[in-house]
Symmetry: C2
Subunit: 233 residues, 2 copies
């Protein structure tokens, strides 16, 4: 049974720390979450399993796993076997230029599928866990990119032509440090033990502890006086 | 062997009349075309076969067929079994509101894959056969949508951060009538006999002659004093 007052939101859920936090934030703001996860030629299935567990635990209205194979275009450590994930880098090194783990147009593709689903659902709200602080090297994590996407999306869809209601793209983490994100999630009761952030986890989802993503995550927990509850190798 | 002067362009190729014409236009402007076609849960394979034949005939540098299943979100005659393709409508009826053959966020998704490939190739140019005249009911065929997409795309990618060269989205058909498009294509030597435009073709690719797309296409050939060389049922 649907509630006429229901506010549906499409939430991009990778199974990582950030997207799990935005799912909790969307719920705390009264949205009924529809979780969207992508199988896009990652090296590992661990984060997909994490996404499924989180979607179930959080009681989303629906969880769609979209199959897209970005490997057909090549060009990134996360989707190609040709490159190695960099490990043991200091934070200063991470922000120099665009990381080789960057996937071409990834957020643009992800948001476009979210937009399609939002239109079908009649949802006016999309949540994405982009962060401009810890991932300043990714062009598609910047606020000016998100704002340009929002403008485009409102012209792209029926909503922009026929309805009064504008489509919103929510980026509640965009200005937060990793420590602040974890603080907010813990306030909301997020169980971070099942989330997978690592760029190079084992088949069981144990993190390497040495890639850029692990280093930032561990530091974020330390800033809250906590140790990461997720498994490491 | 690659030519340093080579101008690469990603060309969205559906196998229809419009996209086949833009492929010829891109070539006539000196671009090396990389053709991108989507298998997106269409009811029929005929247009995919047409796209393959056209890509081969035109000698594209590479032809990628991307598999995406938009049916997971439902919501359109072209991707769902739940609706019937409307037939026998007068032109006036076609432009009333958004057609039920509209696929949510389709061009946004297609352009996003093109953007990813363009970034990997180092291409600064994307060609898409949108048309604001005969398809005025589609929000994502309007010039203001394309311009908003271009702005977003330039913020989304490495090119927008590191390079001087802006990414361009070419829409050479946007202001043309179907008759004008066919005239331009015939000047460029396009063989329209292999293109498939129909929303509801037979397995062999024979057009129905009665859907909106067929009616506009037949009229376009008539305006040039020609009959359509493609097969009809």
């Amino acid at each position: 049974m649907s509630n006429v007052q229901e506010k549906k939101a499409v939430v991009l859920l990778s199974g990582g720390l950030d997207s799990t936090t935005i799912l909790a934030i969307a719920k705390s703001q009264g949205y009924t979450p529809y979780a969207l996860t992508f199988r896009y030629g990652q090296r590992h299935e661990a984060e997909l399993r994490a996404a499924k567990r989180i979607a179930t635990a959080e009681g989303v209205a629906e969880h769609v796993i979209a199959e897209i194979d970005l490997r057909m275009f090549g060009g990134s450590a996360l989707t190609s076997e040709e490159h190695e994930v960099p490990k043991g880098r200091a934070e200063g090194e991470m922000s120099e230029g665009i990381p080789i783990t960057y996937v071409p147009a990834r957020n643009t593709i992800f948001l476009s599928f979210a937009l399609a689903w939002a239109e079908v659902l009649g949802a006016k709200d999309i949540f994405i866990g982009v962060n401009a602080i810890d991932y300043s090297g990714y062009p598609d994590c910047r606020p000016e990119y998100i704002e340009a996407y929002r403008k485009m999306a409102n012209l792209a869809t029926k909503a922009g032509v026929e309805d009064e209601g504008e489509l919103n793209i929510h980026t509640p983490l965009i200005d937060l440090t990793k420590g602040d994100i974890i603080k907010r999630g813990i306030e909301l009761g997020v169980d971070y033990s099942v989330t997978v952030t690592c760029y190079d986890p084992t088949a069981d989802g144990a993190a390497c502890g040495e890639c850029d993503a692990c280093i930032l995550r561990i530091k974020g927990f330390l800033e809250n006086g906590l140790s990461d509850p997720a498994p490491y190798q």
